[in-house]
Symmetry: C2
Subunit: 346 residues, 2 copies
């Protein structure tokens, strides 16, 4: 059998699995942001009738799964696997959502890199003929994340400028078998990341903790596939925020890669930093999940975006290891996606 | 392309990836248990020179990976993927181990079902030609788990008879491409579980929380593959303990499946309940990980065990959701394994 590998970290998917449908559900703050017209549902409040933020987050991921199935005209029994994760301890939001979803479940943890991780594993399963169709999903919630990772919201702790706002929301995408149909949005390659740690210890500066992993995965993907940065219309990181993206650009430049206009970050796109009190931008699993399932998927489908590299970035931050003096490792997984505008090449 | 699926939840792996090597590292209590002759390393104490139990757990999983690579005569660069997880919040033991291991990393969370989950995903990646060789690993640690999930050990809380002892240790297995070699230990099928919840709320009775998922995955695997319980020499659950295994047997009987001598539990095998103060038996990701990588792998290799179904069981328990009144969902993933004694059939 021919190995479907390119270089050290990248897999080539010969059948190019199709991203058949996607759904993005967000909270009220995200619903006032610049990407508001791209979401399937904007929730009126962050609790949506639940008794806790954790239960609300679980309901949100369930809602995203429900919508993507509706859009695809499929039922739960038609889906081979659900691959999902989130930021809560024990990925509780996904686990409790999966309890109410009658689909074999593979729980993942990649912190905020989870969306690309789930899409990458799902794409491999579909490409290899192990799934007719697979769901990849990820969620995060500002209120549940703040109290778990930093301070109780009621404490009203002042946040330094480098902090980011965890996106409240969930994205879900449905992958189906590729048929060589170049009018579809399809996954051509996936690159699984290595854990990188340059010694960053500030839990209020996650962008800096993740930037080395983002730069490493981007340059490794380009080197594995023999491509230049300009081969992509857009290379978009998950949630580096303004400071993290600057660091990532600098690290790429140091390794000889100049990315300018075609490098952006979901965490920068998702909020209006002038009008919204979000400091360095958005973060959380949902940041790249809803930006992809919303705006980026629409741009791909409409032919305004041809070749996209989605690089979800995760800070493997743990309050316990932090208290024990550890730094914050990062990881980034990448998914190479082509829309109809890319034509048959690539 | 022919779909490699059987029934709702099971995948058939045509190339039958080989479990080339396995390593089991355990703590001192496990090292006094009935399976002590099967471990690669028995640690003198649970801290092994580290400053915290969490750091020790991370060092243990790293050690298991190191040993399995040594036994296989491979280096990190020879391995395509590391799939790993553990019980710590943010799977910190695995993340920090992966930081020091130069292999693309896919973090998983399936609670104590993680070993079978990691082996199943790794086997799919190898079977499909996405990896020449992949590492699956999982760890747990009695001391780090107790203080995270239940009470600080210093508190000296009395434990009811249904509690289990989290196994301190880590297991790692190396999967490589199958070649039809029936003298090897090989993975023929994997079954990914659904999340099951019959309303159990007692965090001191995890066996009962996991039993429904174990019974469901076992009966689904047999039905998907058109097999009888007697087709397996051994069906072994991960960590149901004595009470959980009884419940699982009863649930299987209720669904018309009578399993007697060929159903056992790693959590029962790993300790001597008469001589060791372990209540209902062992638990934790490492329970099925070290029992498989130790005793079961030896039995398979030596031809004393032909066909094995390893069913790692996970209680998706979260202290946060528990405090919010939620029950404890369970999940079980299964890996069907054949040793040389099974011959070429199956």
């Amino acid at each position: 059998m021919t190995l479907k590998r390119m270089g050290r970290q990248t897999l080539y998917l010969p059948t190019a699995p199709i991203i058949y449908q996607a759904a993005a559900v967000v909270g009220p703050v995200e619903g006032k942001g610049p990407l508001k017209d791209h979401y399937d549902e904007i929730l009126p409040d962050a609790l949506i009738g639940q008794k806790s933020w954790e239960k609300a987050e679980s309901a949100i991921i369930k809602r995203a799964v429900q919508i993507v199935l509706q859009k695809a005209g499929l039922e739960q029994k038609d889906v081979s696997f659900l691959l999902a994760g989130d930021l809560l301890n024990q990925i509780a939001a996904s686990n409790f959502a999966a309890r109410d979803i009658n689909i074999p479940y593979i729980g993942l943890y990649g912190a905020c890199s989870t969306m690309a991780q789930a899409m990458a594993v799902a794409a491999v399963f579909v490409d290899g003929g192990y799934a007719q169709c697979a769901l990849a999903a990820a969620s995060s919630h500002f209120d549940s994340a703040e109290r778990q990772y930093r301070y109780p919201l009621e404490f009203g702790c002042q946040r330094p400028p480098t902090t980011q706002r965890t996106v409240t929301g969930a994205g879900a995408v449905l992958l189906t078998g590729g048929s060589g149909d170049i009018s579809a949005v399809r996954v051509t390659h996936v690159t699984f990341g290595m854990v990188m740690d340059l010694g960053m210890k500030d839990p209020n500066h996650m962008g800096a903790a993740m930037a080395p992993a983002a730069a490493h995965t981007i340059s490794q993907h380009l080197s594995d596939t023999g491509q230049e940065p300009s081969d992509y219309d857009l290379i978009i990181t998950g949630d580096l925020g303004v400071y993290g993206l600057e660091l990532c650009k600098k690290l790429l430049l140091d390794s000889g890669l100049e990315l300018a206009d075609n490098l952006d970050d979901c965490g920068i796109r998702i909020y209006d930093r002038n009008a919204q009190d979000v400091h360095a931008g958005g973060s959380g699993c949902a940041c790249s999940a809803v930006t992809f399932a919303g705006q980026l998927m629409h741009e791909l489908t409409a032919g305004r975006l041809g070749r996209l590299l989605l690089v979800s970035t995760g800070a493997l931050f743990s309050p316990t290891t932090q208290q024990q003096g550890e730094s914050i490792p990062g990881i980034a997984h990448a998914v190479a996606i082509q829309g109809p505008a890319a034509g048959g090449g690539g």
